[in-house]
Amino acid sequence: MQFTHRVSKGSAFNQIYVPRGMEVYFEVGDLVEVRLLEKKIELNYSKNLKKIGEFKEKLIKEIFSFLSRFEEIKQVFAVGSFLTSKADYRDIDLILITDKPSDKIYEKLTEKFGMKFHVISITEEKLLILKKICPLTRSMLYYYISNKTIPGCGKREIDVNHLRFLLMLPEDSLEINLSGRAYYDCLRRLIAIENFLSKKEEDPKKIDSEIEKLISRSLFLALKDSARIEGVALDKIRKIIKEKLDKLGKEIVDGKN
């Protein structure tokens, strides 16, 4: 004889009631076993994210439920364009908080859902540091859904070496021909760093609007679509990157002194 019930909140202890009609089978003094069948999945939205559609919410719940089987995962975040774009997303970005990063989780996710995922595994300790010093991490966590609550990103701390590390790709993009998508990433990175240094929010949607304003809508869409960029368009993008790099280089040096 068995029944399935949800655990409910009691005044002193959480409890499971024996349902009506079952009391003849489950009597006071009987020995029973309680097993966890399904972990309750909570969706905690970042304060900046509006409620997403039912289909996407259901999918995220299923992903979180699947990942709850891996004991080593302490917390999961869904981030990126899957949450903010209606249909214009390429994959589902996940951040896993774990002390034991493993490629197996990525493989199992892909196998289970048949979808493209981008998974970043990181320890809680590192994430706490990055939330303070990294404009890209702050931008990534501007919109998220998580299975647990977390405090906001908090105060910014300038780590010159880290910022210089982030500027390496935009610097190289002035000399090497990259795909349109890589130029888009460079621009996004530069504006996120600008916002970080001037203590503005690193909102990825606002960063996109700013790129669009700088380079025109058609070129913005071409970059996102990873079109090959040449001629006048490439010169225009490189000029913007160069100007931003010069400005940021100076700000970073000033911040250091």
Partner: protein, 104 residues
């Protein structure tokens, strides 16, 4: 383009790609070993296109390796914010990428 100019272009891109890869490995704060390995991969992809332009003989391959080693050292020296462990792993990472491009 001729072989010599392709060698210059190829080694320029690879030196930068390797600087990214090594930087992500030695800087302890980088999620980044994972996330920014992507930056290096982007550049290696560009290098592959250049590498495919020619048939390289063993003399060319040797020249590529020597030129790359010089350029990579300069790239790493210029980025003083990358941990000094970078010089310990540069040869190993250089050989890996050259193998990847069938240039070793």
């Amino acid at each position: 383009m001729g072989k010599t100019s392709d060698i210059h272009e190829l080694t320029n891109i690879l030196a930068k790609a390797l600087r990214h890869r090594i930087g992500a490995m030695v800087n302890s704060n980088e999620i980044y070993a994972e996330k920014y390995a992507k930056d290096a991969d982007l550049l290696v992809k560009e290098a592959k296109k250049t590498a495919l332009r020619q048939n390289w003989n063993s003399y060319d391959k040797n020249q590529i390796k020597n030129e790359l080693k010089k350029k990579l050292r300069i790239e790493l020296e210029n980025k003083d914010f990358l941990d000094s462990k970078k010089f310990d792993i540069m040869d190993e990472e250089m050989n890996k990428v050259l193998k990847e491009l069938e240039l070793l």
